[in-house]
């Protein structure tokens, strides 16, 4: 690949994938920066203050671009780039299919541009959830499909990288970091089936005008198939960092390698058959299936609760190895000045709030208290911004030296950036929880502040706007920190990062913890029972269809 061989003078990266990884992650970061700035404007527009360019059309265009950039572009490109990095550095051998990986990258770029231009032109203001019968220009959806196809190529490269390594190293455990990355690839293939079916069989034909009607219940159900697991797709790199990067950065060991494998397997199993909890308030599903999926959702909280303990114990090992004593002395002994350690601490704090909000959301009838209010917006911003993005930032800080061949001269701007991100996120989302409980609803361009109830929300909306401004500053500082390393860092960085070692490094593991054959069968069983009838009902008792409403 010419693109792979062209190398900026001065960069001394030793990795074969360094250009590939850097290209992916810079695309992710560009989308992220744009989305952060749009987010600030959206909060300004919703506040009692007067925002420029504030029309309904502009607002929903902006929300769509914000959602698509954050949820589809930032995440997919980051995960692909980080996955390639892991495949090369964990397996210690060249990535198979480097040319194919570049092909997938350009496919993703084409898709991203198609979707972005559709949104900017105003022909796709349907938000990133694009619920039919509102329908955008077909090019918006085709762009998204291309991004998904690019990610499928990534999945195959990851799976084969692991299989071929295992064939050459019989009996050896796949390194945890690679096992987890491939778990994400396997889960993503399952995850995208729902939205791919919705787009290919329902939405794109409707957008082209081949179908004048659409079965809305079916489309929402297929989207829900994807909607929960996609969040775990985004979260996987964060958990990978918790298990395989944080303990090393803190100067200790991972408490248990087996628990790490189990946690990732539980995510693979239980993040899929739970999507109906997004449709808890929908009239097209019965309460029995909703409860079944609530029950399975309760099980998907288990790996996170297990992770809290395993990672805290790993932190305790590091703290004690650094001389911390007593029941809590190890906390202070941790090297909080290192970005990965700081980010992990802040991420867990935000995960506490975001996960707690999630426990409320999933609680069956209790979902009615908060559904489609700002509470939900706060919940997923804490999960996404608080746990996903802050760990992406920490991962970037960890791997950037090995990608550029340069070390950070000064870690202070890195810490400042992470702290600002944390403060901004808490200041923005805590008022949203409060407003959501009072009934402030989502996805509106403007509020009537002359209404007495809404009037009392005004000050809190302004507080959250301040949080948003802090976040935007942090995002720009993040871009600056990484961009500067390409030019100004200290030469002589290590060629690759080392991943954390467990207290007892596994010598051999059961086949089930070294591959995904068993788990794929169990996922199929879970999906069959959790989604079988909820999808089949639309074909057995076809509901009346709705007329397609074109927007753009």
């Amino acid at each position: 690949m010419p693109a792979a061989r062209r190398r900026r003078a001065g960069a001394t990266a030793g990795l074969q994938t360094s250009r590939l990884v850097t290209a992916h992650i810079w695309v992710a970061i560009a989308a992220f920066a744009v989305a952060c700035l749009l987010g600030v404007w959206q909060m300004w527009a919703r506040s009692p203050l007067t925002a420029p360019y504030h029309t309904a059309a502009n607002y929903f265009r902006s929300v769509t671009l914000h959602g698509v950039s954050m949820a589809f572009v930032l995440t997919t490109f980051f995960i692909m780039g980080f996955g390639y990095y892991v495949a090369e550095t964990a397996l210690k051998r060249p990535l198979p299919g480097l040319g194919l990986a570049w092909g997938a990258f350009w496919l993703g770029i084409v898709g991203t541009l198609m979707a972005a231009l559709s949104v900017i032109s105003g022909d796709a203001s349907v938000l990133y959830t694009f619920y039919p019968p509102l329908t955008a220009t077909p090019w918006f959806y085709i762009g998204l499909v291309l991004v998904v196809v690019a990610s499928w190529i990534w999945c195959l490269i990851m799976i084969f990288a692991m299989r071929w390594w295992r064939a050459d190293n019989p009996g050896k455990p796949v390194p945890l970091v690679m096992f987890a990355s491939v778990a994400n690839a396997v889960m993503w293939l399952w995850t995208t089936l729902g939205v791919a079916a919705e787009l290919l069989f329902q939405v794109i034909p409707a957008a082209f005008g081949w179908n004048g009607m659409v079965d809305v219940g079916l489309s929402r159900t297929l989207f829900s198939w994807t909607l929960h697991a996609i969040v775990y797709f985004w979260l996987f790199p964060s958990y990978i960092a918790f298990y395989t990067m944080f303990p090393r950065a803190a100067g200790g060991r991972l408490y248990s390698d087996t628990m790490g494998r189990l946690a990732f397997i539980l995510f693979l199993l239980y993040s899929l058959p739970v999507g109906l909890h997004h449709l808890m308030m929908d009239p097209e599903h019965s309460n029995g299936f909703k409860f079944l999926q609530v029950f399975l959702t309760a099980l998907v909280s288990v790996p996170t609760l297990l992770t809290i303990f395993t990672i805290t114990a790993s932190a305790e090992i590091a703290g004690r190895m650094r001389g911390g004593k007593g029941l809590f002395g190890w906390i202070g002994a941790l090297p909080w000045d290192r970005p990965m350690v700081l980010a992990t601490g802040l991420a867990f704090f935000m995960l506490f709030w975001g996960g707690g909000g999630g426990l409320i959301n999933m609680s069956y009838g209790m979902n009615a208290m908060v559904h489609n209010t700002s509470w939900v917006t706060a919940h997923f911003h804490l999960i996404f911004g608080g746990t996903v993005v802050i760990m992406y930032q920490a991962i970037c800080y960890s791997i950037w030296p090995s990608l550029t061949g340069r070390n950070f001269a000064d870690q202070r701007p890195l810490r400042v950036q992470l702290w600002l991100w944390f403060i901004g996120m808490m200041v923005m989302t805590l008022p949203w929880h409060w407003l959501g409980l009072q009934g402030q609803w989502r996805r509106v361009a403007a509020f009537d502040y002359s209404n007495p109830l809404i009037h009392s929300w005004g000050p809190w909306v302004i507080v959250s706007l301040v949080g948003g401004i802090v976040l935007a500053f942090s995002a720009l500082l993040f871009v600056y920190n990484l961009a500067m390393l390409h030019r100004r860092g200290i030469a002589g960085a290590p060629a690759a990062i080392e991943y954390a070692q467990a207290v007892h490094p596994p010598e051999r593991v059961p086949s089930s913890l070294n591959g995904f054959g068993l788990w794929n069968i169990l996922v199929a069983l879970l999906m069959l029972l959790a989604y079988g009838w909820p999808i089949a009902q639309f074909f057995v008792y076809p509901p009346p269809q709705a007329v397609v409403h074109r927007l753009g």
Binding site: A4, R5, G14, L15, Q16, A90, K92, R93, P94, P175, G252, R253, Y255, L305, I308, F309, T312, A313, A315, E316, I317, G319, R320, M321, G326, L327, F328, W330, I331, F352, G355, G356, L359, I360, S363, G365, M366, A368, M369, L437, A495, A496, E498, Y499, Q501, V503, P505
Partner: protein, 64 residues
Amino acid sequence: MNEPSYPAGAHDYAGDAEEIERLEAAMVETPRGAVVVSAVAVGLLLTGWLGLYFLVFLPRGPVG
């Protein structure tokens, strides 16, 4: 394309004797602190959940 070289068996990293000693010393107490910290965190989580359940959700009336 120049093939990068990878240190052989680097993922079998074991640490030096001094580090193993510190690790063994650390493992004497671990995970007592982690149990307490995680238990407090999860306890607060459950308290918050029950608080919203009893103080907000139930008083707002039944739905179905």
